[in-house]
């Protein structure tokens, strides 16, 4: 589905990614694990066209490296950024509907999206209760659900989630990750960026470990969990 080949990203004169290659197949959850400042978000922003890069990004058989950010989103490669970024002054339902802009662009009326809305409300019932509320008034967990729901309204072919667990209570996190697995089971591949390594390894099929702008390890999540290097650095268990 997504193939990243030897990606180099620069912020001014500082190179933030030094040749990263990764792949996400259809129906997988792939985790990208790394500590603060390792380059996880930069990698996602490079794929979605917000950081200028060298290298090659291929999505759904097409090269998208040099496309503008909104045109990459239009290929239905959708990123839910770190910090959720709901539109604070729009209601929950308006936030969700804005997610359909990739269907036929800017138009006067959104069109009929009852079924899609119902589907989102079925996955996240709490959004239904709050559908008339302005998004800023939601709790952190609800905002995260809204951000994911809004991306789902665009029927993503690949969903990139950046730190969905950030700042959430443990009980909300487990609820949220169940939903992420559910979304994946219904046919959407997920590229999951997380600092919470054990959680990410638990739900993913495969994982990459990123350190200082380079991928250092990759493989099956179950096996990485047992890898002593991973245990020591990310899971806090010395062997």
């Amino acid at each position: 589905m997504l193939k990243v080949n030897n990606l180099v990203a620069n912020y001014g004169r500082i190179e933030a990614l030094h040749g990263v290659s990764l792949e996400v197949g259809s129906n997988e959850i792939v985790a990208l694990i790394g500590s603060n400042g390792a380059g996880k978000t930069t990698l996602l922003n490079s794929i979605s066209g917000h950081v200028s890069v060298n290298g090659k990004v291929e999505f759904d058989g097409e090269e998208i490296t040099k496309l503008k950010a909104h045109n990459i989103s239009r290929k239905r490669l959708l990123q839910v950024p770190e910090g959720r970024h709901v539109f604070p002054g729009l209601s929950v339902e308006q936030n969700l509907l804005v997610g359909t802009v990739i269907d036929s662009g800017i138009r006067i009326v959104s069109g009929n999206y009852k079924e899609d809305l119902e589907m989102i409300y079925h996955t996240f019932p709490r959004l239904k209760e709050r559908r008339k509320q302005l998004a800023w008034s939601l709790s952190g967990g609800e905002q995260q659900m809204l951000a994911i729901g809004r991306a789902l309204m665009g029927h993503p072919k690949l969903l990139m989630l950046d730190e969905p667990s950030m700042g959430l209570a443990p009980i909300i996190i487990s609820e949220l990750f169940e939903k992420i697995v559910e979304i994946n089971k219904s046919g959407t591949p997920v590229l999951l960026v997380e600092q919470n390594a054990s959680l990410a390894l638990c739900v993913s099929n495969r994982a990459y470990i990123i350190e200082r702008g380079k991928l250092t390890l990759s493989g099956d999540s179950k096996e990485l969990m047992k890898d002593p290097r991973v245990c020591e650095a990310y899971l806090g268990k010395a062997k």
């Binding site: 989103s73 802009v101 800017i106 665009g154």
Partner: protein, 288 residues
């Protein structure tokens, strides 16, 4: 209460409200106070004059045509004065807007000359209400401006395109992540802003004559209206505009026409002493 002053003050207030609303739309969209907004009023007025007096098109149609052309002017303004500098410091954009205002002012002088011009009224004649005589044009200004304000409200709050524009104003990064072409969305906001302000020029011209320097003073009054009403608030811009219009009318009649602008700023200072955030201002400046 002097009915005549009340009506003329209110109608001027609505015109200032149109300018202020246009400024607020741009401010909420890109976080920049557009100091060329008054020039949109002047330029829109001249375009309307051109249709009405040079091409002899009826005033109603002239207003609509000038508004449409101002939409294009607004989009060009955005593309040339704002977009290339969007990642620069806001100071740079403010200076470039001031530069654009000079271009508009001098452009108008080159195209239409510097002799003040007038054009047809939307509604002619005066109404007599007991001792007061009220120009119908003032009433027309109130009706048309209120109609435009309602239209903008409906567009922004009730339509999909309005939600897209709001979403872009609230979070450009996220807007592009869900596939909104940010340049189009911001361009539409600038166009809308220039359209409503431009109509104000066409409405004012039959009363005051158009000249190419009128943008500066009306822009300054609209800015006062925004601060009084609460920075960034659309209802605040309208209420602030009305306060400025009424202070100007009554102050001019009962105190001094020379000190009209001073009176406006005295009211501004008084409001800020009581409510530093303005009437409708939030304590937290969220771009929502």
């Amino acid at each position: 209460m002097n009915l005549q002053l009340l009506i003329s003050g209110t109608s001027m207030g609505f015109v200032y409200g149109l300018i202020a609303m246009g400024m607020v739309l741009i401010f909420r969209s890109v976080g920049i106070m557009n100091f060329a907004q008054g020039e949109f009023l002047m330029f829109g007025g001249y375009i309307c004059y051109m249709f009405n007096r040079i091409f002899n098109i009826p005033i109603g149609i002239s207003l609509i045509l000038s508004s449409l052309i101002m939409g294009v002017v607004g989009a060009i303004f955005m593309r040339t004065a704002y977009w290339p500098l969007r990642k620069a410091q806001s100071k740079a954009i403010i200076v470039s807007a001031m530069g654009a205002s000079i271009v508009l002012k001098e452009g108008a002088r080159i195209i239409w000359g510097s002799i003040p011009v007038s054009m047809d009224k939307v509604a002619d004649g005066t109404a007599k209400v007991s001792t007061a005589s009220i120009q119908w044009q003032y009433v027309a200004i109130i009706v048309i401006a209120a109609f435009l304000m309602a239209l903008v409200y409906i567009l922004l709050e009730k339509t999909f395109i309005g939600h897209i524009m709001q979403a872009t104003a609230q979070d450009q990064y996220m807007a592009s992540l869900i596939g909104i072409p940010v340049i189009v969305s911001i361009g539409l906001t600038f166009a809308l802003s220039a359209m409503i302000t431009g109509v104000g020029g066409g409405l004012l011209a039959p009363i005051f004559f158009l000249n190419n320097t009128m943008g500066m003073t009306s822009g300054a009054k609209a800015f006062a209206a925004i601060v009084i009403g609460g920075f960034g608030s659309v209802p605040g811009a309208i209420i602030g505009g009305l306060i400025v219009g009424l202070v100007e009318a009554f102050g001019g009649a009962y105190i001094s026409t020379t000190y009209q602008l001073v009176l406006i700023y005295i009211v501004l200072v008084l409001v800020l002493m009581v409510r530093p955030q303005g009437i409708f201002g939030d304590r937290i400046q969220e771009k929502a």
